[in-house]
């Protein structure tokens, strides 16, 4: 995994904008470079890596479509990793995206887009085809949203599923099985992980087109 280091069971990404933090995370120096602590309680991608994700197919020049970018916590770490690539950050809440916009002003490889991920046609003209799709949006139809957006994908992707936002009455394990099956109709699922103890009743899938 490029631009990521692991020290004492903690992970860090190489800071694209030295001396700047995004959410008050700790900064450390390692072999002359500055790294940002990547908090698994605030970022499910960090939790997935700590829980044993084997491969994160992101390169220094990858193009990423990030759905559900919220205030930019995880997107900022993705931006560290793909330093020469681009991260298109789609978020539909005008309030949540305010902070993300401030982050984008410092990080030239992040492109904010205030749109609903249910309607890829509305931002097709703002993005390009990407090597990776990352989705974390906690909607009942989240797998369907991902499939709609895969028209922009030539490569890999990751999907976070929060059981509670799909159905509170069903057992999480059942929900994850069902959603995985839906994914498998369109992609090859490479890895499936749970995110405990960092995020409760969450599953994480890495897939390939």
């Amino acid at each position: 995994m490029e631009n990521i280091i692991k020290k004492d069971e903690r992970i860090y990404t190489k800071n694209l904008v030295p001396r700047e933090t995004v959410y008050n995370e700790k900064l450390i120096k390692f072999e002359g470079m500055e790294y940002r602590y990547w908090d698994p309680f605030r970022s499910k991608l960090s939790a997935a890596i700590l829980n044993g994700l084997h491969d994160l197919p992101l390169k220094k020049n990858s193009k990423v479509l990030y759905l559900g970018a919220a205030s930019g916590t995880t997107p900022s770490h993705v931006s560290d990793i793909v330093e020469n690539g681009r991260v298109y950050c789609v978020e539909f809440s005008p309030r949540a995206i305010r902070k993300l916009v401030n982050i984008c002003e410092k990080r030239k490889n992040m492109f904010p887009i205030l749109e609903d991920a249910n309607y890829p046609e509305r931002y097709a003209h703002l993005i390009e085809n990407v090597d990776f799709i990352y989705q974390d949006i906690a909607q009942p139809n989240q797998t369907e949203i991902l499939i709609k957006n895969s028209i922009f994908l030539k490569g890999y992707g990751a999907l976070c599923i929060k059981a509670r936002s799909i159905d509170v009455t069903l057992h999480p394990e059942k929900i994850f099985k069902r959603e995985k099956k839906k994914l498998e109709e369109h992609f090859e699922v490479l890895e499936s992980l749970r995110l405990e103890p960092y995020a409760k009743d969450h599953a994480f899938f890495l897939f390939k087109q």
């Binding site: 005008p94 995206i97 492109f111 904010p112 205030l114 097709a124 390009e128 028209i151």
Partner: protein
């Protein structure tokens, strides 16, 4: 080979056979229609990807199409992208997002409550009315919407204890079922509308509890701002006013929870855990409401902290407490 007319944030491109035939960069990024039109006049058979613009120009439309895919595959060889335009675009959209969205949502929530009440009356009435004709169906089908659907669409075929009625009597029942179902569908639409708008307004609260419950809390508090200013102890009993009133007047046992009781993590818990869960949930709601109202910054750890506390309560108070004499 078809011709395509596609554009991105910076320019319009006529594409055919995986080649750009001609392009025009926008002079005024906010007003790209001029260059798009000029290009369209030169390539009047071309197919657009963007529905809105295609409709405005009365052009052909297909999404996604080969032209768009070509453009999205080759941005780097065509131009250098800069995120400044994206930042400004979002800033402008944020400005346009209404500040008083909570007032609109409150009205919608109250409309929902009244629609629910009316629907209940209507469904009950329909059962009683149609029951004269086909009582067995009432016993068999418990779900209201399903029942109304059958009344509207199907005939009574089997032998029934019900009376034989004239066609006009049955037609009127079917029409009533039809109108009730229409109202029911409207209800679903209303719920979707409320959820979507509340999620945009309160990312942290909506991550912690059901967005519909967030909307009800805001409605009870009177405004988004009011909710953000309430202490956790008040949030815990919001919606339980009659019980609270009794408590204050007669010194009866204080109510443990108001409307947040609707969250299944409280009401499906054993009775002796409910108060503790409600107290913890209310305190996290207070934190999330302030975060949402004052900054909108999304922080995953608020709802995770609640889940951790929830697990702890479930473990620690697993057994029913023994009554002391």
């Amino acid at each position: 080979m078809k011709e395509y007319l596609v554009f991105n944030a910076f320019g319009a491109f006529a594409v055919k056979d995986k080649k750009v035939l001609e392009h025009k960069f926008f002079k005024d990024l906010k007003n790209p229609i001029k260059e798009i039109k000029e290009l369209y006049e030169k390539y009047p058979d071309s197919v657009f990807e963007n529905r809105e613009i295609a409709e405005r120009l009365n052009a052909k439309h297909e999404f996604p199409n080969e032209g768009g895919i070509f453009l999205r595959d080759n941005i780097d060889s065509i131009m250098k992208l800069d995120n400044e335009y994206y930042i400004n675009l979002v800033k402008e959209k944020i400005k346009k997002a209404s500040e008083s969205k909570d007032k609109v949502i409150i009205q919608a929530v109250q409309a929902l409550e009244q629609v629910d009440q009316s629907l209940n009356f209507f469904f009950e009435r329909l059962r009683e009315w149609y029951g004269l004709y086909f009582p067995e169906l009432c016993d068999r089908i418990e779900n209201h919407a399903e029942f109304a659907g059958i009344v509207k669409n199907e005939e009574r075929k089997e032998k029934s204890m019900g009376a034989d009625l004239e066609d006009t009597d049955i037609e009127m029942m079917k029409s009533f079922a039809d109108k009730t179902l229409e109202m029911y569908n409207f209800r679903e639409e209303l719920v979707r509308y409320i959820k979507e708008n509340i999620e945009k307004l309160t990312p942290n609260l909506s991550n912690l509890i059901n967005p519909l419950l967030v909307a009800k809390l805001i409605s009870l508090a009177g405004s988004f701002k009011n909710l953000a200013m309430l202490p956790a102890s008040t949030i815990q009993v919001l919606g339980a006013e009659p019980a609270l009133f009794r408590h204050l007047r007669k010194g009866a046992k204080p109510p443990k929870h108001g409307i947040i009781f609707q969250d299944p993590r409280i009401h499906t818990a054993p009775r002796w855990q409910r108060g503790k869960i409600a107290r913890s949930m209310a305190s996290k709601i207070a934190i999330a409401a302030r975060l949402d109202f004052y900054s909108g910054e999304f922080d995953e750890s608020v709802s995770e902290a609640f889940e951790i506390r929830l697990d702890a309560i479930r473990r620690k108070y697993k057994e029913r407490p023994k009554k002391r004499r």
